[in-house]
């Protein structure tokens, strides 16, 4: 097996425009590798939602895309306030985003559920005050 390919990008807090750009850029990379459109689509959605979470809640952080021969892994890390009740946050429509963010049309409470729906494995390491580490895995040869 060859060395995994890793792309890394810094995320600035409250930079809403950049989130779409990162997702597009990561997706273009996956497309250029010849991966199936469905894989690219799911990865882009996960990247977009995870980055949005960093932008809205995390106060900036790092996004990483790792490609191996059998899987794509998306990692998002921030040193923000952490998620208080993960079970609640995984529910559709639940959002802790402040009003000014909701007024911009974001924070609909679909972020984490969307990530879960589009990934094969999802690990979240978080606690209040110690930031959030998210790792989502999409397998390349797994029939869904």
């Amino acid at each position: 097996m060859s060395e995994p390919l890793v792309l890394e990008l810094q995320v600035k807090p409250l930079d809403f425009l950049a989130a779409g750009e990162t997702a597009t850029q990561f997706k273009e990379t996956l497309k250029s590798l010849g991966l199936a459109p469905e894989i690219c689509r799911r990865a882009a959605v996960v990247v977009y939602e995870a980055e949005m979470n960093i932008v809205i809640h995390g106060g900036g952080g790092v996004m990483r895309l790792q490609v191996e021969e059998d899987k794509v892994t998306i990692m998002a890390e921030d040193e923000g306030p952490g998620i208080e009740n993960l079970e609640l946050a995984m529910q559709e429509g639940y959002s802790s985003a402040p009003d000014y963010i909701r007024e911009m049309g974001f924070g609909a409470g679909m972020g984490l559920p969307n990530i879960k729906r589009n990934s094969d494995e999802l690990y979240i390491d978080t606690a209040p005050g110690k930031g959030t580490k998210l790792r989502a895995v999409i397998y390349l040869n797994k029939g869904r």
Partner: protein, 439 residues
């Protein structure tokens, strides 16, 4: 694949303005002359707009040759009606064309555009929300953009034929005439549509010329038809005329839909691309239909027009259209709908890009090489290497179509290194000579 753009080599100075305007990075400058990678060109005409030396033109048929074909049956884009000093009413434009010996088939447009709008409205209403929004196939540059860059959106393209093609089919069916038909186009994409159609094997039109060519003929050859007839105010025009500007198609589709639908209109390639990127991320929930046009303000903004797009829009905004139809016409429309004449005969398929390698392992290796090559480039995207960006340059290099020395900055560095070496070498020589001289 024909792309509707002609390169006038003697006029091309290799200035790289055009290659930087291309939305699919389909242009290169090689040995001082521009080249188009036709397999990824969407025929939008942005390069023609940008060329300061008039080295890029519409690839239209020879005007004199087309003119020699009589009768000359013409199918003009609706935007053609807005090219003149008189109001954009087809009757007036038709009169001017007839006077010059051309034969417009405007009479077929009403049924053709109506059945198109009806088919689109019914397609929207028959689909579940998950399959929406549907995307209009009216702009051929947008269709090709999706085929090349937005494969996930292909199932969203509404499988409805261009009403201009449908008009020709209706005309042939009604008149049983076999005379050649000339499509009059305001953009390279529609010219490409005649040469290599998408969704059908062969176009119903035989020739393609630009709006500006025919408009010029009318401007110098005919009097103002509006002086010969009385024009009633407010100005009335058929429904299809509004398709010339962005929003016209959506209005038609909304009016023909059996239930309220939400449409979104977007024009100009930058906006279209941004919207499609957002759509791929699943951000357009709740929208039923997207009308996307490559040109600013819609077809009146096409590069092949004679009139200013701003004035064209004012003219079209000033006309009134009605969506009332009598029962007899409604029945006729229904029978044309049933005949499926509006339907695309072939599926729209993605145009696959070559991945970086044959399998994932090799593609990943190549991508790492690409990143390494890219890291050595100056990231100024100056275009001097003949490619639109350093990123494209790196891609070309690892595909074996270029060398890092094509980069003027890299070359400069190498010359600097070399001259330093020569300098040091020369000092050493002098030193030897003096020591020899002393001994």
């Amino acid at each position: 694949m024909a792309h509707g753009v002609k390169i006038m080599e003697p006029s091309c100075r290799g200035c790289v303005n055009c290659i930087k305007s291309c939305p699919t990075e389909a242009m290169r400058v090689i040995e001082g002359k521009v080249r188009i990678l036709s397999e990824i060109c969407i025929a939008c005409g942005e390069c023609i707009r940008r060329c300061p030396h008039r080295a890029l033109l519409l690839e239209e048929d020879e005007w004199d040759y087309v003119l020699s074909k009589r009768p000359m049956v013409v199918v003009t884009d609706p935007s053609f009606c807005a090219q003149f000093s008189w109001p954009p009413v087809p009757e007036l434009t038709a009169q001017a064309l007839f006077e010059l010996g051309f034969e417009p088939i405007f009479d077929e447009y009403e049924a053709a555009y109506d059945v198109t709008a009806l088919a689109e409205a019914r397609a929207i209403c028959s689909l579940p929300d998950t399959a929406k929004p549907l995307i209009s196939t009216y702009c051929p540059a947008v269709v090709r953009l999706i085929q090349i860059k937005f494969h996930e959106l292909i199932p969203h393209l509404v499988p409805v034929e261009s009403p201009l093609e449908t008009s020709i089919d209706l005309w042939r069916a009604r008149t049983r005439r076999r005379d050649p038909v000339t499509l009059v186009s305001s953009c390279p994409a529609r010219i490409a549509m005649v040469r290599s159609p998408v969704g059908r094997d062969i176009s119903s039109a035989e020739f393609a010329i630009s709006t500006s060519k025919l408009a010029r003929e009318v401007l110098i050859g005919s009097g103002d038809p509006s002086k010969k007839v009385t024009i009633n105010l407010p100005l009335q025009a058929p429904r299809w005329v509004v398709w010339a500007k962005t929003g016209g198609e959506s209005m038609h589709v909304r009016n023909f839909s059996s239930r309220p639908i939400k449409t979104l209109e977007v024009d100009g390639l930058r906006n279209v691309i941004n919207l499609f990127q957002e759509m791929e991320l699943g951000k357009l929930k709740g929208i039923d239909y997207v009308e996307a046009r490559a040109c600013d303000l819609g077809c009146i903004g096409g590069i092949g027009n004679a009139e200013s797009r701003f004035l064209s829009r004012i003219k079209i905004d000033n006309i009134k259209v009605s969506f009332d139809m009598n029962e007899g016409y409604q029945n006729k429309l229904e029978s044309i709908y049933e005949a499926k004449i509006w339907s695309l005969r072939e599926c729209i398929v993605p145009i696959e890009q070559m991945p970086l390698g044959e399998d994932l392992a090799r593609a990943m290796e190549r991508l790492k090489q690409l990143h390494a090559v890219y890291a050595e480039l100056p990231h100024l995207d100056c275009g001097t290497c003949g490619r639109p960006s350093c990123r494209v340059m790196a891609e070309d290099i690892i595909r074996g179509e270029g060398s890092p020395d094509d980069c003027i900055f890299r070359l400069k560095e190498r010359i600097a290194d070399l001259s330093k070496e020569i300098y040091e070498l020369s000092k050493r020589l002098v030193h030897t000579m003096t020591s020899e001289g002393k001994s």
